[in-house]
Assembly symmetry: C2
Homo-oligomer: 209 residues x 2
């Protein structure tokens, strides 16, 4: 099998055509389709067709937040680095990750909580709309759940796609049980790459490129 | 299902116990096991048990290169950001990604090649051992193949785990056909997260933590 010659600028387009072909006639809501396609593009994993769950107004609410200059907060620097910076800039949005901040490390150590938990508390002080993207730490989702319950922090959208084995499934179920807007990959799968892919899909839908 | 209480420092250990339980009695070579486990830890995807292919001396050669202060070159800043910096420092290694460099962008545009291809050419000038980790761009693997054929660049190890639909499968097969040391995720799956996980597994095996 020899490589197919595809012009550099056409590679992503060709990938999306292949994904579209393989999805065939499966019915997918128009507003969800670009997000699902981008996650499959990022993972080559069609399991997300079943796994990816959207609250009713997730996409609409996220696009509204982006119009208001949303801050994308991620739970890894890896997810942050995967978000398209020109798209953020074009739309007047920003991305933050507090995981490596000294104050977060100090509080985490002092309270014996994860840095991901302490980062959620720090993000709760932001006064512009927040899109909180969790690709790694279930403890971040659990803290977001606690804030939602107590009314102390309510992001415009929670992207809940941590990956792994300890409390991942549970933390996602907790978020989906809340009266909040979410995009969640149910089950064990997800990751920083998936988190970034969802953020980028939303940015592109909002006109970021 | 309620969350299990696990101390922050114990989460990774507990995850590895769960993965180990689920792998059960499957026979895995000792030197490969930590790499496979970390990739599954990163992806929650047991397909890698079948997909991940190692050339005969891949691990040994990589550990030797790390002892000599290897440069980990990645094809995305996301993969670079996922590599454990304290581990790199402890072992006297470094990580580089040339994708956002102006000279790479200029050459790519001028020659109508991808920036990933131009990055490989730039990396070919490095005179310490290189571990080249490709989590995204098949064109990087194709250029590495060309350099291997012409004898102009021979990394100590090629980590070939791009993800996707256009030339991904082919480019991995090209690398596996070469007389080179490789760790490759055959098929469509992979990603920057997988590339970083393999780099980190090697760093930890070398005593990086």
């Amino acid at each position: 099998m020899k490589p197919e010659y595809v012009l550099p600028d056409e590679i992503e387009k060709r990938s999306f055509e292949i994904i579209s072909d393989e999805l065939g006639d499966i019915k997918i809501l128009d507003e969800i389709r670009p997000i699902l396609m981008r996650v499959i593009h990022t993972t080559a994993d069609f399991d997300y067709l079943e796994n990816l769950k959207f609250s009713e107004n997730a996409v609409k609410t996220a696009l509204d937040a982006i119009k208001k200059g949303a801050v994308f907060v991620t739970d890894t620097n890896m997810a942050k680095s995967g978000i398209n910076k020109p798209a953020l800039k074009k739309l007047g949005c920003t991305a933050e990750c507090f995981m490596a901040d000294d104050d977060v490390a100090d509080i985490a150590k002092q309270k014996c909580i994860t840095r991901a938990t302490a980062s959620v508390d720090k993000a709760s002080q932001i006064d512009t709309p927040v899109i909180y993207a969790v690709g790694n730490a279930p403890t971040a989702l659990i803290r977001l759940y606690e804030h939602l319950q107590s009314g102390t922090f309510s992001p415009a959208l929670i992207i809940g796609v941590p990956v792994g084995f300890v409390n991942v499934v549970q933390s996602k179920e907790m978020i989906m049980s809340c009266d909040t807007e979410y995009i969640v990959a149910s089950g064990r799968k997800g990751g920083s790459n998936v988190a970034a892919a969802i953020c980028n899909a939303l940015l592109y839908m909002a006109g970021g490129r």
